[in-house]
Amino acid sequence: MTIGITTYLVYLAISIALTIWVARTLHKNGRVFLVDVFHGNESLADSVNHLLVVGFYLINFGYVSLALKLGYEVTTAQEGIEALSVKVGMVLLVLGGMHFFNLFIFSRMRRRSHGRQNNHPPVTPDAFTPVQQEA
């Protein structure tokens, strides 16, 4: 096995492991958020949570796959490790970006659902008048 092939395999192993780890973390900790967003409707929260994780996997594996090709020859172990660090670094940044994007979506959903519960009239009354109760 050449150093180039080894670099690719290590890159794939690290990227896939990282993606799975981040996705599982999101899945586990995002659930509480979503249950709150959907006012305790756990089955809906689980469903949305699962769909979000699927999207997360698709985008990240898509990126990992597209970014695989090095484009230059790797001949020594040092070059292999350097190439690996650049690739894995990019994957980490994309994962980080996706992670914050997910958090942003969660917090926005939460804010919206809480905003909808707002019961205060938008304006103050001009006056008050006695109301004749219907008999």
Binding site: P121, V123, P125, D126, A127, F128, T129, P130, Q132
Partner: protein
């Protein structure tokens, strides 16, 4: 607040059309429609200034809170499930003056608008 009484102008085509549209919308708060300055309105709110309610849209909450003109329009928006967010947006300090201007203009020209739009009948 669980219910609002809308004192609308039965002689204006635009208002009747708005009434029909509002009746179909899903609401957070119940809307009861009573023609302004009618016997029914006077019976329900004996101390309200009914001449003023003929000039512009007036809403009375079940707690007796009176909303007149632009505020009444915002309260109608607030009662609708789909437009509650808009009522808060339009009531923000930076937008409220524009909201009031536009709403007052529509209210004052409601007969002309009805005539132009051909919804007099």
């Amino acid at each position: 607040m669980l219910a609002l009484t809308v004192l609308y102008d039965p002689e204006c085509g635009l208002c009747r059309r708005a009434h029909e549209w509002l009746a179909e919308q899903t609401k957070h708060v119940e809307l009861n429609f009573v023609p302004c300055a009618s016997e029914e309105a006077r019976k329900r709110f004996p101390q309200l200034n009914h001449d003023l309610s003929k000039k512009d849209l007036t809403l009375v909450g079940d707690d007796g809170a009176v909303y007149f003109g632009p505020k009444a329009w915002l309260m109608v928006l607030w009662s609708l499930t789909r437009y509650r967010d808009w009522s808060y947006r339009l009531a923000r300090p930076e937008l409220l003056p524009s909201t009031k201007r536009v709403v007052s203009m529509i209210s004052q020209h409601r007969y002309q608008i009805s005539r132009v739009a051909g919804i007099n009948g």
